[in-house]
Symmetry: C3
């Protein structure tokens, strides 16, 4: 479907730009920036594909994802200041990417007849683990383990997906509702700085 394709492109581009900016902050060279953009955008899906045996992984069979990463990286390098000024648009795209990759990952699991919990896990891996690999490569503790409810957003979206599936709704509205929930939840969580509790018992550590 054409609209899904546009959502995929917007998400991949937003993830690539986020990766490129993180790499620029660590002062990598241009090759390093491209690689970090690539793993941020496509690393989660790659890990998902490897874990379920969907190989050669999808970006090897279809060059368009890699091309989107390349163009987004060039854009991030060329228009750094401009793009940063539009950081709200970037956040919107990023949220759309999060929702899209989650929905796509869930469906990969359904196609393999895996348990709903594993499907939600695959959706979350698809959406979040690109960022984890990026942070580990840049020698940081992954952000999603510390400060963001990024992954929680995907899990919540996934739970809604399967609740709606139980109601026997047709697939397209389920996908749209799941994606929208994730986008709205993500935007609200950034606006109001929602966090998961940190269990840090000072006296015991």
């Amino acid at each position: 479907m054409e609209s899904l394709r546009i959502i995929d492109i917007a998400g991949t581009a937003a993830f690539s730009i986020a990766g490129a900016f993180a790499a620029m902050e660590k002062r990598l060279d241009i090759f390093g920036i491209f690689i970090i953009a690539f793993v941020t955008a496509l690393g989660g899906g790659t890990l998902r594909d490897v874990l379920i045996g969907n190989v050669p992984v999808s970006w090897m069979l279809n060059l368009s994802s890699g091309l989107i990463v390349l163009l987004s990286t060039i854009a991030a390098l060329s228009f750094t200041r401009v793009i940063k000024n539009y950081h709200k648009i970037l956040l919107l795209f990023d949220s759309i990417g999060l929702g899209f990759f989650t929905v796509y990952g869930i469906q990969t699991g359904i196609a393999l007849d895996l348990h709903p919990i594993i499907c939600v896990t695959l959706g979350t891996i698809s959406a979040c683990f690109g960022g984890v690999i990026r942070d580990i490569s840049l020698n940081s503790i992954p952000l999603i383990f510390e400060k963001e409810i990024y992954a929680t957003t995907c899990i919540a979206g996934g739970v809604i997906f399967f609740l709606l599936l139980k109601l026997e709704l047709p697939k397209l509205p389920i996908e749209i509702i799941c994606l929208s929930t994730i986008v709205i939840f993500r935007l609200l969580s950034v606006k109001y700085d929602w966090r998961l509790p940190v269990i840090w018992k000072k006296e015991e550590l």
Copy 2:
């Protein structure tokens, strides 16, 4: 076999709790703690499965491992101080897990008709690489590369496994002897602080 199942559960629980404690020390949020517990307990087996092409990996097909990780993480969060007071029991469980995962990994290799050296390698990967992925995720140099003879213990157990196999003993006693050797070796190595030599030639570096 029922007894094997109990050993598996004890090992997975101990690895999860060790992972959860490591994550709490780094002050991760509760989602991060769960993920680190998960990769500590199941990461080694996942890497083994991916390397030999046993996909979808086993925790996707059987939810019980994930459930044990979840319950162990909740226990680690709820009874931190209590569990730490029983650290000797935790060490015992951890040693049992080390032995069990090694034996299980070796048998995966035998089932694929791989060379004994590769089987021992698979056993060691199963038992040790969850901890390696944990340490890399938490931005530390993996403990087993520096201070522990963790991996050496698994390798020693694996060598004994194949020596006994050469003597044409039946499988069950071999497994029990191999697992016990690893448990005893592990407990002794902690008690007496055995280490591998560090080759650090000051003048040359």
Copy 3:
């Protein structure tokens, strides 16, 4: 072909020794040094194999690679000072390894009928990602993202490979030219300290 085999051995040995030295600098124990040597030499090829589904990965089916790593690590530990004095020979071997692994990775992709861009990517992954995994394990930002044109060298060699293929040259001369280009480019880049530009716009970060 016998000559290819010798090139493979020289490259694996050089990569192992480079890994062992990096691990010694971080004062790992001897097991850690061996593991780091192993992932440096064989990690890139392992990642390639996993991404294309060529499993069990090749070092599990043929022990000779592991044996070369073991012997090289022992050599690195035993003759540290001697080997460092011959660092130019080590650089030559390393460059040969870079070229060989690139050519070998490209051919893996061609055998799967993948797009030339993906074949070059597979060659680069084979040649470079062992070093990336090494650096991440040793808790550093991967060198190739920051300071070296290592990967660029492989990409340049890969492009030449496919340009020559378009000219319908026979395979052997193409391989030799591609490998030689990478070796010469690598040696020149070290001699003259070629680097990729760092896009670091101070005022914007």
